[in-house]
Amino acid sequence: MTDPAGIVTAATRAESLSAELPAGRSTGWWGMVMFVATEATLFACLLGSYYYLRFQYGPQWPPPGIEAPSLLKPLVMTAVLLPSSLPMLWAEHGIRRGQRWRLRSGLAATMLLGITFLALQATEYAEKLRQFTMTTDAYGSLFYLITGFHGLHVLIGLTMIGWLLAASLRGGSFGAHRHDRVRNAAIYWHFVDAVWAAILFTIYLTPRL
């Protein structure tokens, strides 16, 4: 303790270079995981409400006047959204090795898939809205709330990815030692993906079971 300069060098040399990642989970990682946990609970409550209203309602579901949802389009949407996690993984692994081009191309690919998903959802809505709306009955309210809320999450995820892409295009943002933000956005995106599987099952498959 007699040599303050010594402390400074001891403290800086090893650690300031080690930067964000090597040792242990970062606070950002934990923060994002906790955030996803609370969001996942929210979706669980949403789907729980769907089942609750459905089973309280009675045998016919959807209620009279609304057809059971057709499967083709949602399956296409699934085929677009679920694989979108792959380029995200690729991007993340790339930047961990310091390969910026992989980050950029991976993000761009994910974004493309996400936008396609939203576009498909828009056409799906255009079709459904002719049949029923949010104010038709509780089924309509649930349908639009659940899918709309998920769509909003996709939009937020896309905003994050767009933002990462912008930052990575600028340069000087991410590299092998600093990519916490990329990883956090990736966690979020995988989550948004996984939730869609639960929604597909609940909204589109269970009425046909």
């Binding site: 010594g6 970062s26 906790m34 910026r100 949010m134």
Partner: protein
């Protein structure tokens, strides 16, 4: 048991550097931009205290109205807003934020860190809390305050049954506030997981910190249910959806299920950190550690988990199947066991230690007496048959004031007296404190004990008046008198605090010979908390010579971290040192973001949807700028291609 004073082990040059990096020289800008967890914690305490006073004064107005049968002090419409705001504010704007305030101030100090994990998020959480509280209270002068009770059952809350802004204020206000609570909870969890001083393995984490972390986990998993409920309520009211409309496939009980899936854990969200305060206060005034540390931790975790499985006990009269009632009745019965464990752990601590009968201990004793009584009535409700008789009567009002005031407010008051020297650097006056205690204790029981009786005598809750035939008048008058006593006692607390801040004797670093790390800092702590981050060797670090040494002459150089604004990250379980991290500087962005959200919620309330859209844009841009990565040279980033 040596009491340490802050170590002289750090060179003046280091201290100067630490001050340079951490201090926030007073200025208007610094006031708005601070990210110091101690200032934020203090603000939480004061703001929550302010909302407590408002909610308490509402209660006094209610009690004045109820003092005599058929009184006309307030109109029914006013009374209904008063009790709703009283309940809502006490639960959401006072109890939780107050305890978050203690957590904010204390958690980093207790675990030997220099700040919370996300200091800016912390500041943001405070501003949102403040704005959401003002948002809700400001509806009262307009006569547009929420008026359907704090649990707001559908379909009374629907557009046609309650027109006007009342329930929009409720739904939007709670959604707004939820942002703050969620942010705070995440922050506590990450702070406690990653920022503990080296050596503070899980079995050395103070019980208060355990309690805060368990609370934060409950928030994470409980709050979404409330948020969803309120979102659906708002959609039903404003945009004609039908979630709670039985005539269009909706169901009114959906509201109740979701509300109580949140609501029951919420009552433990309130009591848990308060019990943590009890565990933190006892060692200093019994001169020994709390008996059965592992049992108490187990109890905390058990309560946090079981609390998610009892919600239907608030719906025992709704006519659900008996089978489900027997399940939820059993779960509600079982949840008393971990509470009992804690009570007896504290009693054993007192039976083995040496009692130092200062004001904080008085409040702890008041807590035990009151909370145990409230807990017993809770256990009675767990039996469905009995609950169906007393639910929604004043008997329930008695129960929850016993557990809320006995279980949460008394520990808070113990905490206020206990940590006042640490928070303000001043000592309070013992005599005034004793007066306050006896007035509050007497007032509390005089107010709420009779409610058991007139509840059993058939008086329902939430009635703005009653006739004299049922014979409830005498006891109601007693309650009213008691509530005035209680108010005087609380006023004395306020007087005591103000007096201490203005005229109190300067406090030494460790006036009580406390056991946890906050007592090894200055009173009040320096902006950087610890000149040298300690290395922890036991559950009672301030009583432990080796821990004391780790910040004294034996301090190792790598825990000073005076270059920049830095603190240490350690591993989640064993608290092995991982690396030092740079902490964010003060910033105005949290305030800006919270302001944009206020604009959003206000314009949603008033149906200015284009303004709301602009507010969303501001929110997005602020967050994008806030988190924008700083530019670094490629070599430092480690870019290869």
């Amino acid at each position: 048991m040596p009491t340490t004073t802050p170590s002289p082990a750090v060179s003046p040059a280091d201290l100067a550097r630490l001050t340079e990096h951490w201090a926030e020289p007073p200025s208007l800008r610094a006031w708005f931009s601070t990210v110091d967890h101690k200032r934020i914690g203090r603000r939480y305490l004061v703001t929550a205290g302010f909302f407590f006073a408002l909610a308490g004064l509402s209660a006094l107005a209610m009690r004045t109205q109820l003092a005599r049968p058929e009184a006309g002090v307030v109109s029914p419409q006013e009374y209904n807003q008063l009790f709703t705001m009283h309940g809502t504010a006490m639960i959401f704007l006072f109890a939780t934020p107050m305890l978050f305030g203690f957590g904010n101030f204390l958690v980093p100090l207790m675990i030997g860190s220099r700040d919370m994990a996300f200091p800016r998020l912390n500041a943001f959480g405070y501003w949102v809390f403040l704005f959401a509280g003002l948002f809700m209270w400001s509806s009262l002068p307009f006569g547009a305050a929420p008026n359907n009770g704090w649990f707001a059952y559908a379909p009374l809350t629907g557009e046609q049954n309650t027109p006007g802004l009342h329930m929009d204020v409720y739904a939007l206000g709670l959604l707004f506030l939820g942002i703050s609570t969620t942010a705070g909870a995440i922050n506590f969890i990450v702070t406690a997981l990653k920022l503990r001083a080296p050596g503070m393995s899980l079995n050395r984490v103070p019980l208060f910190v355990w309690a805060i972390v368990a609370t934060a986990f409950m928030v994470i998993f409980a709050l979404p249910a409330l948020n969803l409920d309120n979102a659906m309520l708002f959609l039903d009211r404003r945009f004609d959806t039908h979630f709670f409309d039985p005539s269009a496939g909706g169901n009114v009980l959906l509201w109740q299920h979701l509300f109580w899936i949140f609501g029951h854990p919420d009552v433990y969200i309130i009591v848990m950190p308060a019990l943590g305060i009890v565990s933190a206060v006892l060692p200093a005034f019994t001169r020994r550690g709390v008996v059965g540390y592992p049992l108490v931790v187990l109890a905390i975790v058990a309560i946090a988990i079981i609390s998610f499985g009892v919600w239907v006990h608030h719906m025992f009269a709704t006519g659900l199947p008996q089978l489900s009632y027997s399940f939820f009745s059993a779960a509600s019965t079982i949840i008393t066991i971990p509470s009992g464990l804690q009570i007896f752990a504290w009693l054993a601590t007192m039976l083995l230690g040496r009692l130092v009968l200062k004001v904080p201990l008085l409040f702890v004793i008041g807590f035990i007496v009151t909370f145990v009584l409230g807990g017993f009535t809770g256990t009675m409700f767990a039996l469905t048959a009995f609950d169906q008789q007393v639910t929604d009567s004043y008997f329930v009002v008695a129960h929850f004031h016993y557990v809320l005031i006995g279980g949460a407010v008394f520990p808070m008051l113990a905490g206020i007296y206990y940590w006042l020297p640490k928070i303000t650097g001043r000592m309070y006056g013992e005599r005034l404190g004793r007066w306050a205690f006896w007035l509050i204790f007497t007032g509390m029981h005089v107010t709420f004990f009779p409610m058991h009786l007139y509840g059993l005598f058939g008086m329902p809750r939430r009635v703005y008046t009653y006739r004299s035939e049922p014979g409830w008048d005498g006891w109601n008058l007693v309650s009213t008198v008691g509530s005035y006593l209680l108010a005087v006692g609380l006023l004395l607390v306020l007087v005591g605090v103000v007096h201490a801040v203005r005229r109190g004797k300067p406090a030494p670093p460790d006036p009580w010979s406390g056991d946890s790390l906050e007592w090894s800092t200055q009173s009040p702590p320096e902006p950087y908390n610890f000149p040298v981050l300690p290395r922890v060797h036991s559950l009672h670090p301030t009583w432990d010579e080796r821990t004391a040494e780790s910040t004294g002459p034996g301090a190792s150089a790598d825990r000073v971290l005076s270059e920049g604004r830095r603190t240490l990250l350690t591993s989640e379980l064993d608290a092995h040192r991982e690396r030092a991290v740079e902490m964010p500087e003060s910033s105005l962005q949290p305030l800006l973001l919270a302001g944009a959200l206020l604009l959003f919620f206000t314009s949603m309330l008033l149906a200015w949807y284009p303004v709301a859209a602009v507010a969303v844009l501001v929110v997005v841009v602020t967050i994008a700028v806030w988190l924008w990565p700083p530019r670094r040279p490629d070599r430092e980033l480690g870019v290869t291609a």
